[in-house]
Symmetry: C2
Subunit: 207 residues, 2 copies
């Protein structure tokens, strides 16, 4: 299937302008969609998935900006997990927090130096799948200012001071081992370490 950029993005701008009626002008939506297209279409290896990836990126950026600028009311706390590549630790932490939260938080993850064309480490995906958690729709993405500003709780893992500081947010830095290039046994240990930390964090936030 060939994708015609103008046809596809025109429809997506219509859809998201409808979604964000009263929150963003169509010009803001057009800018977000164009940025998403530029970020993704040139790097994507499977053309049939470009529409899905562009849509997700545009939607996520608009929601993060709407929250960051107070244009929408957050119904649950926003958690942001940050590591370097958004390919291991922050993905695991976000997936486990989602898994354990029964919809009482919303979760994002990002990498301070994420490769936008990269993949989540395969053994990380395996270690979560065997615990019942699918990573089908997750992908590494770089940290954006909107996402940081939209967060209520920010957990960093191994990314040092690259995450900008904003007052009024809860920050924690977790000393968790990097699963890159580790065998599955070690990846499982890291998963369980992160789960224990996520469990404690959710208990603190939600009580």
């Amino acid at each position: 299937m060939d994708i015609d950029r103008d046809t596809f993005t025109g429809q997506l701008v219509d859809d998201l302008s409808y979604s964000y009626t009263g929150i963003f002008e169509p010009d803001d939506v057009r800018t977000a969609v164009d940025e998403a297209w530029e970020a993704i279409a040139t790097r994507s290896r499977i053309p049939a998935f470009i529409p899905v990836l562009v849509t997700r990126r545009a939607r996520e950026q608009l929601m993060a900006r709407a929250q960051a600028e107070g244009r929408v009311v957050k119904k649950v706390p926003e958690l942001l997990f940050v590591c370097v590549h958004n390919a291991g630790r922050s993905q695991m932490a976000a997936a486990l927090a989602e898994h354990l939260s029964a919809r009482r938080v919303h979760v994002r993850s990002a990498g301070s130096a994420a490769d936008p064309g990269g993949d989540i480490y395969p053994l990380v995906v395996d270690s979560l799948r065997e615990r019942g958690i699918a990573m089908d729709v997750a992908y590494p993405k770089p940290l954006s200012d909107s996402v940081v500003r939209a967060a209520d709780v920010i957990i960093t893992m191994g990314c040092g001071d690259t995450c900008p500081y904003y007052p009024g947010k809860r920050y924690e830095d977790w000393d968790v081992r990097d699963p890159a290039d580790q065998p599955i046994e070690v990846v499982r240990e890291i998963r369980d370490d992160i789960q224990a930390r996520v469990t404690t964090l959710l208990r603190q936030i939600l009580n």
Copy 2:
């Protein structure tokens, strides 16, 4: 990867008991997990995905029951789309409502006669993917009483009177063509017909 039922379900019961602390007893969680395992493990064609499917099913059933019984507070309206097989119309409607709602509703779908081992029609998946909507994690599932009771708005398509009636909910029946065995051009028309209806519905609910 072999899955040991007791190891996997034991961990899942622990996880979901944590998620639902104060809402369900571990025995309730155990029952939901066992039911999910029985419904899925015997029919699943890809053993590696059993944990993911069982987890999703158990989690969805617990959340629907918690809502139906007033054990949790709904933060947004719950929409339920029902058709016969949950392989075409109700899946499209749910996906489009999710796509267009900017998190202001939560969406479920089910089939009055869904085959729990069935698949969503491939051209339905294609027609949504070209509009930027991924159906990776969706699968046909039968209607359950909890899901009906948990809903605030129930839209039926082609399933007649098989959806039980509860007072206090908004019901609509949509006369939408069935995409089964139709060529992609027709499936796209059906998608656009459903999108127009979803747009109207969301405008009514959210204003």
